[in-house]
Symmetry: C2
Subunit: 241 residues, 2 copies
Amino acid sequence: MLESHPRAGLRNRLIQKISVDDWALVAPHLEAVSLRERQVVEVPNKPITHAYFMDSGVVSVVAVDKEDHRIEVGVIGYEGVTGVPLIMGDTRAQHSTYMQIGGAGHRIPQEPFRDALAKSETLRALMLKWAHGFMIQTAHTALANGRAKLEQRLARWLLMAHDRLTTDAVPLTHEFLAVMLGVRRAGVTVAIHSFERRGLVTTRRGQLTVANREGIEQVAGSFYGVPEAELRRLMDEARPA
Amino acid sequence: MLESHPRAGLRNRLIQKISVDDWALVAPHLEAVSLRERQVVEVPNKPITHAYFMDSGVVSVVAVDKEDHRIEVGVIGYEGVTGVPLIMGDTRAQHSTYMQIGGAGHRIPQEPFRDALAKSETLRALMLKWAHGFMIQTAHTALANGRAKLEQRLARWLLMAHDRLTTDAVPLTHEFLAVMLGVRRAGVTVAIHSFERRGLVTTRRGQLTVANREGIEQVAGSFYGVPEAELRRLMDEARPA
DNA sequence: GCCAAGAGGTACGGTTCCGTACTGAAATAA
DNA sequence: TTATTTCAGTACGGAACCGTACCTCTTGGC
């Protein structure tokens, strides 16, 4: 075993992008984790303890204010890492971050992560590009929230979740979809019904299966796709492959 | 004159926060600029030519998609700098960025700016904290877009603009407010009317004056304030004062 | 001073979505 | 199995906002 912590089998795209030298900085501190849905990763206004590189599952980042208004501002899967504030030089969480769909991955405590970022320009560049991609996603969430109809937003969300899963099954209740989109649960139910009638999805209690992804993409229109394309570009720029 | 480019009189908060050593890296490349309203600073999918440190005026950052949906995702004034992607290691603009309210400041070409960021850890830390603050603003814009009513969003915008101006007069048409909020022009007119009747603002053609800031803050509620507080915290952390 | 262009006031039917609430069905615990 | 909880289906009045349109007032250019 050439490396203290093997990464050959890991699906996480950022970990795959880390150079051999940088891997030596990070790997000794990684710890395998398995997180169930609803497991909390970051709490608003509290210190961030770890950055999570997930290989599976979907993480929701939810902005909250003092009157308890809340809405999802981004999702993270195997393409990224949680703890964006750490990358930006902050140790405190602004948003509520938790597993929307359970999964497995690795985490690194905030201190060695920040140390590694300080030491390695290449690691920093990689993580900054990821953070930038996440920013773009948030900006387009703002766009969708302000401009898109419920069905379009739901379609966008399903596509983003589907991108991060290995099956077509999305194990989520209408209730949680509603919280993320910032709409009524009943509204989600009706929209999903419409999708179902059009053959875009099939449903079971607590689960929803993508049946016709292209159809869903048509519903989402241009509200979906820009952040995904930008992230691909940013990651392609980041050497090594 | 100890410095090649004096900054004593500059209002820009980030420039004020730059250390003496870092100032030596940046100052030689700065160029004074005066920008009229509607002047374009960044064009989506085109290279960013300069970062602008404004001393006055308000910059709008507007996300756009392929079907020409658009909405403002952030505003920048004397507290920050444009060209966030440069700070993140990207040279391309994602969003449409332009002066919403004209002003004056200084700009630095992207290359020396990126060079300076690469060379100085302290400058990088400062700019990253700013970029992080801007991210938080964008997240709360997403929250407001998804959860707040038109009046609350208008109030939030007015407060953010007011924060960045030295007078109570906000020189903007209903049309442009509508574009930024992603609503109908007529809707803005009605909302402003309501504000006027309540004594919150006074109006003139192409202008709107804040008459009762606290009243406007009450309308905005908790949709306003979080990003502002977080940016203060982040800037306080960044030495030197 | 006149005219074109821009800005703002107002209206109206229509759509979307909310708040609320009740019901039945499915999963889970006892 | 039974009891309990969670989830989903459905409904209804109402609020918010849209799309569109038209008209009037300023303002700036000639």
